[in-house]
Amino acid sequence: MAVSIQVENAVKEFTLRYHRNLKDLTVAKIRGQQTTDSFRAVDDVSFTLEQGDTLGLMGLNGSGKSTLLKLVNGTMRPDSGSVKTRGRIAGLIATGAGFHPQLTGRENIYLNAAILGLSERETNRHFDEIVEFADIGKFLETPVGHYSSGMYARLGFSVAVHVDCDIFLADEVLAVGDKPFKRKCMQKMQEIRESGRTIVYVSHAAGSVRKMCNRVIVLEKGVKAFDGDVDEGIRFLKYGNDEDQPDEVDNLDADDDNLGADI
């Protein structure tokens, strides 16, 4: 099968600046304090995904999961190493990031879809499905600034999942929304998975990773600490035995409840 995502020795370094204005900076310099510091959010990570693979990306908060996702998504470029992808990327790195609070739901759907690379015709084709899935009803013509946070998230999710993409990235997506919507989301994600798209799924919820993924990578302080089988990966993280995360999660309802722990 064809290679879908290829990450080779990717490094992303962030610079921390302790002082933002000239006065502080001068004072710090005179005292001989450190003024900048850098750390590697993603440190020499390599992996290759084939088309149709579903990868669960796990790790503690701040381990570099989101940064790695941004490298794959193209928002950031690696400082060294390379990231290559094949085909169109959509996903939920930030639901509704492209939404403009003053524009209506309808206008935002077109704008958001255009950002994801759709043409006007393609958006027209998916428009009804997007609206129906988001279930925002008569609020379609209301500025999204007035939406409830749930509606906002639903609309963003809906646009992202209806884009006909080849690679789907999901970052803690199911943390928002009520139970019925979460169930709908899970179903949609399964559909996406079954359609043969490559998925990178970031989550802390062992249950949903187990359900979605056929491979797990665990990051620790930016370094790839584990790469391989799903169950082993979860065991590696010791997530499986959490009291609120029973090992045997196979009905969707129980899983849904656990999804709340995503945040």
Binding site: Q51, K84, L111, E120, D166
Partner: protein, 299 residues
């Protein structure tokens, strides 16, 4: 459990394996014209959202500033200078200067303002300064209509040279404005000081061009060297081009006005300026590409 799901079907993607981030700079912006159009429309709509007068403000704003300049300089300060149809003189200069200042200042803020998009979505970032320029260009239309009506009222007739002058002036400012917007929008991400510095610079721009005073005043009071320095300002040339297009034709004796008030070789000068602006744009693009990687983390 993972084995519960049916085996995924095979999906064949006929795209090359490539870097996911946009790398073609400004070309990428024009490849994604549809997105650019939506962004421009979003800016225009959002600006007048919730206002009763809406687009009418873009007539009202230039009009009020124009009256201010016309009254203070034309009626109070320069009474003795006696510039023919001074209102047209001021207003034609004002439109092109306003186009430049709008592009420059909103372009400088454009990336910081679209933070949420820049940090989270893979959009070519040149998109934002370019769309700021296009929004400003859109707002040139209403005052142009006012200017046309006023000029016709003073007996102005369109001529080929004048129309060429308009095209040259707009091209010059589009190139120059985009170049500066590209450069300063990145600079503004790193140090917000640049946003304030730009506003300071714009004060000089408004008075460094023959808008509220006639060019003859410069000819009379500066020596040859300093006159050349004054004329080396691309904004001066753009203002002169606009005045050549509208003001010259609205005076009693256009040929005499042209000879007295316009710099020599106006069209040659403007072509040189356009070439310089194009080179600046290329340089700005290179600087932009180099700094772009650090933008998301510094926002």
């Amino acid at each position: 459990m993972s084995e519960a799901a049916p085996a995924p079907q095979v999906r064949v993607v006929d795209a090359p394996l490539a870097a996911p981030s946009a790398t073609q700079g400004l070309l990428e912006v024009f490849r994604r014209r549809y997105l650019l159009r939506l962004l421009v429309r979003r800016e225009i709509q959002a600006r007048y959202q919730g206002s009763v007068l809406g687009l009418f403000w873009s007539y009202l704003n230039p009009l009020s500033q124009f009256f201010l300049y016309w009254f203070i300089f034309g009626q109070v300060m320069l009474r003795g200078q006696n510039v023919e149809t001074f209102a047209i003189h001021v207003f034609s200069g004002f439109i092109i200067v306003h186009f430049f200042t709008e592009t420059f200042s909103s372009g400088t803020r454009s990336i910081v303002r679209n933070k949420s998009l820049v940090q989270k979505m893979a959009v070519p970032r040149e998109m934002f300064p370019v769309s700021a320029m296009l929004v400003s260009l859109y707002h040139v239309v209403p005052p142009m209509i006012i200017l046309l009506i006023a000029s016709v009222a003073y007996g102005w007739l369109p001529d080929a040279g004048g129309m060429l002058a308009v095209v040259l002036a707009l091209t010059l400012i589009m190139l120059l404005g985009t170049a500066l917007a590209l450069f300063f929008s990145t600079a503004n991400v790193f140090f917000r000081d640049f946003g304030s510095a730009v506003n300071l610079m714009l004060h000089f721009v408004r008075f460094g061009v023959p808008m509220v005073y006639p060019l003859t005043m410069i000819f009379a009071r500066l020596n040859d060297f300093w006159t050349e320095v004054y004329l080396a300002n691309p904004l001066t040339i753009a203002v002169c081009l606009f005045q050549r297009a509208f003001w010259v034709g609205s005076t009693n004796d256009p040929a005499a006005t042209d000879a007295m008030n316009m710099p020599s070789h106006l069209f040659e000068r403007s072509l040189i300026m356009i070439a310089v602006a194009a080179v600046l744009l290329l340089i700005a693009q290179r600087v932009f590409t180099r700094l772009e990687n650090k933008i998301p983390e510094r926002l």
